[in-house]
């Protein structure tokens, strides 16, 4: 019997392929179904604190009605999408040149630089956010430095005792960009590294200037990397709970904080579930757009 022959027997390959499917069903599909079902329940004072209606149609859409009746939900959706969008664009603007640079340096430098990008992950995420809280605070050396620079640059009348960075929406976007930047750089780098450099040379030979080479060759070919990195930043940033809670401004809550409040403080599990379902719908749309884009790109490559 050949070494790999046992695997070729149909049963074994079915079992092995079945494992990831089973994983996806148990840990992704089933929870989504549970949360979706929960969103049609009503909150009651019990353990667990929800119940389904006893008569036809057995479901309540009350939570979804409230989603639109109370402006806080739509507003916080807006804040979340805005913050995540701005953060994604900033990550792209900062991350793209870094990823491109990584493919253009020597092998030794490349290894060191990649290491430096991954290095922050070795420190607890929460600790890094707390470090920024210390830096952004009104009494920190960092803030004093920024303030004195600002006061030198502007006329006397505009002078401020300190710059308020903490508890602003700016701080949220800033820390999100800082935290998620590696998630943009790494997929971009993986994509850019595979690009055929001879295409650049061919374009140069045909008279393109470096800028035109970038716009006409590198950028279109790196689209899958941009989209992968963009989704990796956008989706978790939109649902971010910890960062706005620590550095954010309470007037513009993000949707994660609202879900946590409904679940924890108000004990309204159906409301929390219906917001989660709405968030899922909002976030799944870009994901589906991405798969469509990718399958079209693959079809294009073949055709």
């Amino acid at each position: 019997m050949k070494p790999a022959a046992w695997f070729d027997r149909r049963g074994w390959s079915d079992i092995i392929i079945g494992v990831p499917y089973a994983w996806a069903i148990v840990f992704i599909l089933v929870p989504i179904v549970i949360v979706s079902a929960l969103s049609f329940a009503v909150p009651v004072l019990n353990s667990p604190p929800y119940a389904f209606a006893q008569s036809w149609p057995y479901v309540s859409t009350g939570s979804f009605h409230r989603l639109f009746a109370d402006s806080i939900y739509v507003r916080s959706f807006g804040v979340s999408l805005f913050n995540a969008g701005v953060a994604t664009v900033l990550c792209l603007l900062i991350g793209y040149p870094m990823a491109l640079g990584l493919t253009r340096v020597s092998k030794a430098a490349n290894r060191v630089l990649l290491m430096l990008i991954v290095l922050p992950f070795w420190t607890s995420f929460l600790l890094r956010v707390y470090a920024w809280i210390g830096l952004m605070g009104t009494t920190s050396w960092f803030n004093r430095l920024l303030t004195s620079l600002y006061n030198v640059l502007v006329p006397q009348a505009w002078h401020v005792p300190h710059i308020q960075i903490m508890y602003t929406n700016f701080a949220v976007i800033f820390v999100v960009v800082y935290s998620y930047l590696p998630f943009m750089i790494l997929p971009l780098y993986a994509n850019l590294e595979k690009l055929d450099r001879t295409l650049d040379e061919a374009a140069m030979d045909l008279g393109s200037r470096p800028w035109q080479v970038f716009v006409d060759v590198t950028l279109p070919l790196s689209m899958p990397g941009i989209i992968a990195g963009g989704l990796l930043v956008f989706i978790p940033a939109a649902g971010e709970l910890v960062i706005p809670g620590l550095v954010g401004n309470m007037a513009d809550p993000m949707i994660g904080a609202i879900i946590s409040e409904e679940f924890g403080l108000n004990h309204d599990w159906p409301m929390a579930a219906s917001i989660s379902v709405a968030l899922l719908v909002v976030l799944v749309v870009p994901l589906m757009a991405y798969t469509r884009f990718q399958s079209r790109a693959e079809a294009g490559a073949r055709g």
């Binding site: 027997r9 049963g11 353990s47 108000n266 004990h267």
Partner: protein, 365 residues
């Protein structure tokens, strides 16, 4: 030898039963406790185990919502839980906790009648909770920063923050209010509204009052002030008495020279009392009673207070509490301050919705 698919499946089938077998293990000589983090004496649990031979699993939580979500979901496996008084009634209604059999708690007599009277506001006759630690809701001021801006302010009056003229002067050193129902309660008392009566009109008044000073308020927060107070990021913080003590200790540990003062508003404020409760579906009821009795022994509870610096509800323990702790009026309030405290009644779903809407309206600015 080759293993066929059928053999492999047959061999692994018993694995499916593992989850059931794990949960059907019999209750041994154990006790499962779920409590606030950093909320007990250093050796309390070890001593209890040494005396009784009971193996204790002591789990901790860091936020009320975390603990409440777990308890509401049910089947936690815990026997004894640290529950805040304010929401106790809801959890009793939901069937989470069991009634205490006082006959099995001979040490109950050690408890402070004054604290028991307040706690009875949360559950009549204290039928479901054994009061553990307690304190007040109030204002922590960075005295130097506040006096530099408002030399004559009466810090026991909420005019200091809710009068726009005062708030404007304090705005640059940072005002933080509780992101919690307690904020609505102290404002209702400040406005002289009757306790525990909620209506749209009352909430509108509360919102209007806070909105007048809203531009001067830097944030609404229920935990991060433990960092922002020692950092001098905030000079006025609406919080709970225990947090004031923690913030002061942290500042001292960090070598920050900071003069903090804690005041309970003259217009009255909600007390908080944390209880030990018995979980309805706990398997080790006898051990749970032993633990509650143990935690009402004067020497034991005094050691907890000396370590965590919260006032306990045990009158007999005062003899064993460190002088410095006992004489600290922010931990053990004076009679005058004690008279200002009350236990808010538990909220109906409609009341809670009114309060939450008011808090959201206030925060929205």
């Amino acid at each position: 030898m080759t293993i066929t698919r059928r053999q492999a499946l047959k061999a692994s089938a018993p694995l499916l039963a593992v989850p059931w077998c794990l949960s059907c293990t019999k209750a041994g000589n154990e006790l499962n406790i779920y409590s606030w983090a950093d909320y007990i004496g250093e050796d309390t649990i070890a001593d209890f185990s040494a005396i009784t031979g009971i193996k204790v699993n002591y789990d901790t939580y860091n936020s009320t919502p975390e603990m409440e979500a777990k308890m509401l979901a049910g089947s936690t496996g815990y026997d004894v839980v640290n529950q805040s008084g304010v929401t106790l009634r809801d959890f009793v209604k939901a069937g989470v906790y069991a009634r205490l059999d006082k006959n099995r708690l001979p040490n109950w007599n050690n408890l402070d009648p004054a604290v028991l009277a307040i706690a009875a506001g949360y559950n009549p006759d204290n039928a479901y909770g054994m009061p553990y630690m307690w304190g007040s809701t109030g204002m922590t001021y960075n005295l130097d920063m506040v006096r530099a801006r408002l030399p004559d302010a009466d810090l026991e009056s909420l005019d200091t923050i809710f009068d726009p003229a005062n708030a404007a002067k304090l705005a640059d050193c940072g005002i933080s209010l509780l992101d919690d129902q307690s904020l609505v309660w102290i404002v209702m008392s400040y406005l002289g509204k009757p306790r525990d009566v909620y209506s749209k009109a009352v909430m509108d008044d509360v919102v209007r009052t806070v909105k007048r000073v809203r531009p001067y308020i830097r944030t609404f927060d229920s935990s991060n002030f433990l960092v922002s107070l020692p950092n001098k990021e905030m000079c006025v913080v609406n919080n709970w008495s225990g947090d004031y003590a923690t913030a002061r200790r942290r500042a001292r540990e960090a070598g920050v020279d900071i003069d903090l003062g804690y005041f309970v508003p003259k217009t009255s404020a909600p007390a908080w009392i944390d209880m030990y409760c018995l979980v309805s579906d706990g398997l080790n009821r006898d051990n749970a009673y032993k633990f509650l009795n143990y935690m009402m022994m004067p020497e034991v509870i005094a050691k907890c207070t000396n370590h965590i610096r919260y006032a306990n509800a045990n009158l007999a323990s005062r003899r064993f509490v460190d002088r410095a702790v006992l004489e600290d009026t922010t931990i053990y309030p004076t009679k005058d301050v004690l008279a200002r405290l009350y236990a808010p009644k538990s909220l109906s779903a409609a009341d809670s919705r009114l309060i939450n809407d008011a808090i959201n309206a206030i925060k929205a600015g």
